[in-house]
Symmetry: C3
Subunit: 140 residues, 3 copies
């Protein structure tokens, strides 16, 4: 019989960077006891992203940060929305360029992540924030 449940994962960030929460999601999936199903994640913010990326060499994430910092630099005079700080508009742009949604099937009681895939919250603001990820599970 198909069933569903709704959850929330709350994450405290310490400024710009990647926060791996793969294990927090795995725990929800374990507890749900779903054998087959679908996990859907929605980040409730517009200046941070959800990202699936390589979890092996941390240099990959540092290069991602370098690339996006160059693509949408803090304090770029192109931006008019500056009232919330030099890093706010670049944060909105990074969010638009990436995503706030993930959908990962569950097979044999496990998320079908690839060998090198980790699930990250990518905080784009330089100050610490409290971020909430809504999680929906469905399956049987």
């Amino acid at each position: 019989m198909l069933r569903q449940s709704a959850h929330e994962i709350a994450l405290s960030t310490k400024g710009r960077g990647f926060y791996d929460f793969t294990n927090a999601l795995r725990e929800l999936v374990d507890k749900s006891q779903l054998k087959t199903g679908l996990a859907t994640l929605h980040l409730q913010h517009t200046s941070a992203s959800l990202l699936i990326q390589e979890n092996a060499d941390p240099e990959v994430r540092r290069d991602l940060e370098r690339f996006f910092s160059k693509l949408a630099p803090d304090g770029d005079p192109l931006f008019q929305h500056t009232s919330e700080g030099d890093d706010d508009m670049p944060a909105h742009i990074r969010t638009a360029l990436t995503t706030v949604n993930l959908s990962i099937p569950i097979v044999e009681r496990r998320l079908v992540l690839g060998t090198w895939q980790g699930i990250y919250l990518w905080e784009h603001r330089t100050a610490p924030h409290r971020r909430r990820v809504a999680v929906h599970l469905i399956g049987e």
Copy 2:
């Protein structure tokens, strides 16, 4: 008992820009009477995007437009696909850089959008278009 339904939201655009349709989606969710569930949206086009972004300061959306106009400028001589107009290839690129899919959980009869999150159709073509968003609801 879990149930599902399929819907369509049609939007008329007046050229490049952001069209907030959060309320149209909220109405579908209200009518569905789902207490807990998942709303999935798919935009049936390749030159416009679905975007969740800040709904407070409109300058944020103008800065997004400025950034993407600079990143993929209309009429860039890099592009060979010019038969549909100078704005067509930049529109395809903007769509690739953003998304045509959104997935938002429903909790306590409401989409779990963050306080500042609005749902937008981002029209990338300069001429008016009729755009269709397929919506799938599931839950109970």
Copy 3:
């Protein structure tokens, strides 16, 4: 009665480029005999993307390739993660800028793709790879 199923589509790539697998997904949907439902795709890799794009003029995809090659060039000295080749870090960046997830409703036994929408695996690595797409179907 709602039901679900999990599948995998495996694709062999011959280096950087677009691989249309719309028909492979359509076959899964046909076989499932779902009248209404939702298809969710997850690519189990971090150096390739899933992309819905125009399937008419192939020049559109060549222009997408030109744009991303210029935006994140192979061998850019900005990148420190070079141990897996000059094309590896640009591949991770392209994946972050696009997506590894797609969600497409099923209506009247068909994926609600727009007239010009094709579903592509976008291989970002220059060497051939074996890529796996996990597919979850739910509906009735």
